[in-house]
């Protein structure tokens, strides 16, 4: 099992008419899609609109997704096309070269988005970042190492177990406890964010 298997399982549920499964895909990929679209559209709120449109288009076309490519690669292309169409409809010229999907998430266009976001949103973003890193710093060493190896270095549970010389079950538990500790600090912030327009 891998992350792409989870996506595939969710896609299959959507294809059977389960809209809730698509909601989970939106929640998972909204950040990445906004980040990709920010390459083409600088304004924060415009970027959000285009991202929404891209998800709607993806939903309409999801019946044709057969799993030959990864879901993210597929929706990434939809996002790019939606962003380009948006620019053309606004009488603007889209860039001639696309960024590769593997580079897309690392793209620094986010900083341009920060400039066009409202001060409140920018403050919120900084607050989220500070909360997450501060909490990680305060975690017990074994939790901190496990979550860092997973999220920053991208190791699998098996690789982490080998690196930390412990069973996979322990790795799974440590990563979960680290996430729970961060989530506990983050929850009040994000529930506030959810209420904001």
């Amino acid at each position: 099992m891998g992350e792409s298997d989870v996506d595939q399982a969710l896609v299959e549920r959507v294809q059977k008419g389960d809209k809730g499964a698509f909601d989970l895909l939106v929640r998972k990929y909204q950040h990445k899609l906004v980040s990709v679209i920010s390459r083409y559209v600088n304004d924060w709120s415009e970027c959000q609109d285009v991202a929404q449109e891209a998800f709607v288009r993806a939903y309409r076309a999801i019946g044709s997704f057969r799993g030959d490519a990864q879901f993210y690669t597929w929706i990434y292309k939809i996002a790019i096309n939606t962003a380009k169409n948006h620019l053309v409809s606004q009488g603007r010229r889209p860039p001639t070269e696309d960024i590769a999907v593997e580079d897309a998430v690392q793209f620094e266009g986010a900083s341009r988005l920060h400039e066009s976001a409202t001060p409140e949103r920018e403050l919120m973003r900084q607050e989220i970042e500070r909360t997450v890193f501060d909490t990680v710093e305060r975690l017990p060493e074994e939790l901190k190492t496990a979550i860092t190896l997973r999220e920053v270095d991208g190791l699998s549970y098996e690789e982490i177990a080998e690196a930390m010389n412990c069973p996979i079950g322990t790795v799974r538990s440590r990563i979960f406890r680290a996430r729970e500790a961060i989530d506990e600090q983050l929850r009040p912030l994000l529930s506030e964010e959810t209420r904001s327009p």
Partner: protein
């Protein structure tokens, strides 16, 4: 129980959950708003730790889902086979009816005789040599089907081909017409809009349009 589920959720987003628990959890996730919120927050944590953009806008997913509620179902979603067969059958029947109407030669009518008013006309004399068939005998025949429309109801007609004489109304068999109407009504609820409505070239005249001095009004 909850903690176990949250730990499974954590493993799920890492792609480290076995197939069966994954299926169970996905079902649960789509129905449990609190669990879905946790899924969102876990991804915010991931984005932040990876120093990737956190474009968390309040209600982003909710806005997308609200838009989808107003949208039709996804294209390409497989329709039930019975519906596809039904729609296909309706289309085929429509084509057959249209072809029948357009190619059927008009029965010879005395010039100026109004269509579908045979009851008012004198009964045709039996053709010499041909067996005389009474109306009663015809009705007792198993092949006889009573038309849905009254055969002598006055109808408006329209030419059915470009080559026809516009001054001459096209003849339409009332039984055929009633079949078309019946078919259209039956297929209207399920089949996609096709050209069946346009096949209805003649319609019964309404009562109020009948001149006061016409025989029908009396």
């Amino acid at each position: 129980m909850n903690e176990q589920m949250h730990e499974q959720l954590s493993a799920l987003m890492d792609g480290e959950l076995e197939r069966e628990p994954m299926r169970f959890l996905l079902r649960r996730l789509t129905d449990d708003a609190a669990l879905a919120q946790r899924w969102t927050r876990y991804h915010v944590i991931r984005q932040t730790l990876r120093r990737q953009e956190v474009a968390f806008a309040g209600g982003f997913a909710e806005s997308v889902m609200a838009r989808l509620e107003r949208e039709a179902r996804p294209q390409g979603q497989v329709r039930p086979q019975w519906l596809r067969l039904g729609a296909g059958g309706a289309i085929a029947a429509s084509v057959a009816v249209a072809a029948l109407m357009l190619t059927r030669p008009a029965p010879e009518q005395p010039s100026g005789m109004p269509l579908a008013s045979h009851a008012d006309a004198p009964a045709p004399l039996p053709v010499q040599g041909a067996p005389a068939v009474s109306v009663a005998a015809t009705r007792s025949s198993p092949e006889f089907r009573a038309p849905l429309l009254v055969p002598n109801a006055p109808v408006e007609t329209a030419p059915v081909s470009f080559g026809s004489d516009l001054s001459q109304p096209a003849a339409v068999d009332p039984r055929l017409q009633s079949y078309v109407i019946r078919h259209y009504e039956a297929s209207g609820a399920t089949a996609p809009s096709v050209f069946v409505p346009y096949v209805l070239l003649s319609q019964p005249q309404r009562e109020e349009r009948v001149p006061a001095d016409s025989p029908q009004a009396r």
